[in-house]
Symmetry: C2
Subunit: 135 residues, 2 copies
């Protein structure tokens, strides 16, 4: 396994992700990293995001439509995505353990984890509709 040396790029990427709660895509991370490191490459961003996800310092979220998103929070929580504006938000409410327990009742294998994703309309978009913004 790799020895893992310090890298200012990787450190900045992690810091950036922890400072946000909007689950940026790799490209957004890249754009923001370019402010600090004008020569940073997309490859480096991807390599570090994937490395950080592997060692569990960040979380990779797929299946929200387009590109994967990354989450600086590593505690167990689930996500909500607004089908109107595409925003992805954290949701801290589910009892994962009982969910897994319940699922294992009618399953012959071993379940080690689960991810829940909710869809719907966020408060902002609901309010926009109320005020009559149709387009």
């Amino acid at each position: 396994m790799a020895a893992l040396k310090f890298s200012r790029q990787r450190e900045s990427i992690k810091e950036f992700l922890m400072s946000r709660n909007d689950h940026p895509t790799a490209d957004t991370v890249y754009e923001n990293m370019k402010i600090i490191y004008p020569n940073i490459s997309l490859g480096t961003v991807y390599r570090n995001l994937s490395l950080l996800a592997d060692i569990g310092e960040i979380q990779k979220l797929s299946n929200f439509g387009g590109a994967d998103r990354f989450d600086g929070r590593t505690d167990e929580h689930c996500h909500f995505m607004c089908t109107e504006c595409g925003k992805v938000m954290d949701l801290h409410s589910q009892d994962f353990d009982s969910l897994v327990e319940k699922a294992e009742e009618n399953f012959t294998g071993r379940i080690t984890g689960c991810s829940i994703r909710f869809f719907g309309v966020c408060e902002e978009c609901i309010n926009q509709k109320k005020s009559g913004n149709s387009t």
Copy 2:
């Protein structure tokens, strides 16, 4: 909205998906369709899969690693993916309604749907490990 004409290709794709429970990728569908229609194109497969998913006759599953997978079952159920062999299986056990209700308690928007995905090791892979197949 499109008038939706009959197409033998689309019919076969749907039939194929309903006959399997292993959630094939678009490419697997394509390979199997080629047996019946040697000249079918990947584009046609993708177009029909996406059309069928749109009208709710099949389900599209993303985020299981690589390419999207497709499920001929449209009733509410969740999925399990074995982290050893990559197999994806159906799981019928969760009470989605109470889950959504619970989630809405601490959320200001409206939740209309949810998808749950479990990870772990399937029975087959557990048994293989027991019998000492390490490689």
